[in-house]
């Protein structure tokens, strides 16, 4: 399945009253579309949270949002700045402790979709959020693992959202923080991880999915107006491109309107 506008959303006609969507907006909308209604979604802060909240306000009103702060079924009016904003607790169906959210909910396999971002990603969807450079003497010290390693291993599937650049899409990670498809060829399954791993990587250029056999990421679709050569150029390994490359549907008017309203509310917070 490539990312297309969900049924019922009126096509791809962009409202002339709305500015042309930015690449980040196209990416966020494409990510939101990956979430089916009723799914239970473990959400990180930033783009994942924005996309999940967009999905909940468009095609997936019954999407269950879980934040690692222990809020289950949060229904924030605006995208939270942090994963522990008060509104998450106020609107949640249940608030549980942090040990419980990881043990009873994530580890036990109750999460359908984990939503992650990354500083570096490799061809098998493995993720680095720890350091750029050597671990002992890093060029850039990143925030670290957070909830990502167990989201990556235990969520039913993982959606990764990040901008496509040669600095991010690297031949070799400086540090493996969270496991995607490891070294491919079924090596993830051999590790005994309970979730299926990354099923899609959404970027500002297009949509990548793991090859069913090798698990190497393949460019399956580009966003409207994107040259696949640009995606290849912005990838630090020889990026495979699907023989029948798709084009994602541009953000629908309704999607973009909701996204912009959310972004404005988030920025005003």
């Amino acid at each position: 399945m490539t990312a297309t506008a969900p049924a019922g959303v009126p096509g791809s006609i962009v409202d002339p009253a709305l500015p042309v969507p930015t690449a980040d907006e196209v990416m966020t909308v494409a990510a939101a579309r990956e979430l089916r209604d009723g799914a239970v979604c473990f959400v990180g802060i930033g783009l994942p949270s924005l996309a999940a909240n967009l999905a909940r306000r468009t095609h997936a009103p019954r999407l269950v949002l879980i934040y690692e702060s222990g809020t289950i079924g949060a229904k924030p009016d605006r995208p939270p700045l942090s994963i522990g904003d008060g509104e998450l607790a106020e609107t949640a169906d249940a608030v549980v402790s942090v040990p419980e959210i990881f043990a009873y909910w994530l580890q036990a396999g109750r999460i359908d979709v984990g939503f992650l971002s990354a500083a570096q990603i490799d061809r098998f969807g493995n993720i680095n959020t720890t350091v750029i450079g050597d671990y002992g003497t890093p060029r850039v010290r990143l925030p670290g693992a957070g909830g990502a390693p167990e989201i990556a291993s235990s969520a039913g599937e993982v959606v990764v959202v990040l901008r496509q650049t040669r600095r991010a899409f690297v031949d070799r990670l400086d540090f493996v923080t969270s496991v995607g498809h490891l070294r491919g060829q079924g090596s993830r399954a051999a590790l005994g991880l309970t979730g299926r791993g990354p099923t899609v990587v959404i970027t500002d250029l297009g949509v990548l999915r793991p090859d069913p056999d090798s698990q190497e990421l393949v460019l399956c679709a580009v966003h409207p107006g994107v040259d696949p050569a640009e995606a290849v150029a912005r990838t630090g390994w020889p990026l495979a491109v699907a023989p029948r490359l798709g084009v994602t549907s541009p953000p629908a008017v309704a999607e973009l309107a909701v996204l912009r309203a959310l972004s404005t509310r988030g920025a005003a917070a």
Binding site: G46, L81, V98, Y135, A145, G146, E150, R188, T194
Partner: protein
């Protein structure tokens, strides 16, 4: 039995140079007042522990209180990097900072093990990552029933746990509600504990989801607003503007040092810092 004391007395009595100290809080209820007091009393060589070291730990690291950090995610949530943390790790300023890092699930399991009086806890985690290569506190363990290999993490025992809560009652019981993080586990994983609270009440609010009986808390200090710029559900809102402003304040060593002197070292307590902040905000608004 929890003694009601000033925060100054609590820190003076319970936090020693070289201690393993966690000031916990998951976005909500972060004990800023207590952290500032530790800086003000010039504690050194602490092993600071926390799942989500954020701006408070950036301040404490920049102030030179920490020798070592045990953590799982260090950032300014929704804003970006912690510049003082990065400066310590990348350039050793104001001193080198040893790191021991885990995943959130691993840290939570380590706290639970310690709170439960067990030497280790078990989880599905770390497999395939580079995390376990850099710590001795992660090891494989085999299920004696299924033969399946899982991951053991060592219990995370603390000298002192510091948390902020909404209320303490007349009997010294502490109550909190809203996002509760790992605060209970941290207190139960520690030899001693300091709790700051918004207020003292006759009876705890029935919304309290976590109650720490008086006899597991060492000291309680009333510090209204003591979680600022974090928040106390039902008492205050998160000051997102401060978190954003911190990015600028902390980016540069000089600017940070000036702020630290003005807001922490040269103040008599957290209330004075809050007054200064309010004045600065007022001036900025008027300018």
């Amino acid at each position: 039995m929890a003694e009601l004391v000033s925060l100054r007395e609590a820190v003076a009595e319970l936090v020693r140079d070289g201690d393993v100290v966690a000031l916990e809080g998951f976005t909500h209820l972060i004990p800023y007042a207590a952290g500032h007091e530790i800086v003000r009393q010039h504690r050194r060589d602490l092993t600071l522990v926390r799942m989500t070291p954020d701006v408070l730990y950036d301040q404490m690291i920049g102030a030179g209180t920490a020798r070592r950090l045990v953590f799982s995610w260090g950032g300014n949530p929704g804003v970006g990097s912690l510049h003082r943390f990065r400066d310590a790790v990348e350039h050793g300023w104001p001193g080198p900072l040893e790191l021991e890092e885990h995943s959130h699930a691993g840290m939570a399991t380590r706290y639970v093990a310690a709170a439960s009086g067990l030497p280790f806890g078990v989880l599905r985690g770390y497999a395939g990552t580079d995390l376990s290569a850099h710590t001795a506190n992660v090891a494989p363990v085999r299920c004696p029933f299924t033969g399946e290999q899982l991951t053991a993490v060592a219990a995370l025992r603390l000298d002192v746990a510091v948390v902020h809560a909404q209320q303490v009652d007349r009997a010294g019981n502490v109550g909190l509600w809203g996002i509760s993080g790992v605060q209970k586990e941290a207190v139960l994983a520690a030899r001693s504990s300091i709790v700051t609270v918004e207020e003292r009440v006759d009876a705890l609010d029935p919304r309290c989801r976590v109650v720490l009986p008086s006899w597991v808390v060492s000291a309680v200090a009333v510090e209204p607003g003591g979680a600022h710029p974090s928040y106390a559900h039902g008492y205050s809102s998160r000051d997102n503007a401060f978190y954003t402003a911190w990015d600028t304040i902390s980016r540069d060593r000089t600017s940070f040092s000036g702020w630290l002197r003005r807001h922490v070292l040269d103040t008599g307590g957290f209330a004075e810092h809050l007054r200064l902040l309010a004045e600065e905000t007022h001036r900025a608004g008027a300018a």
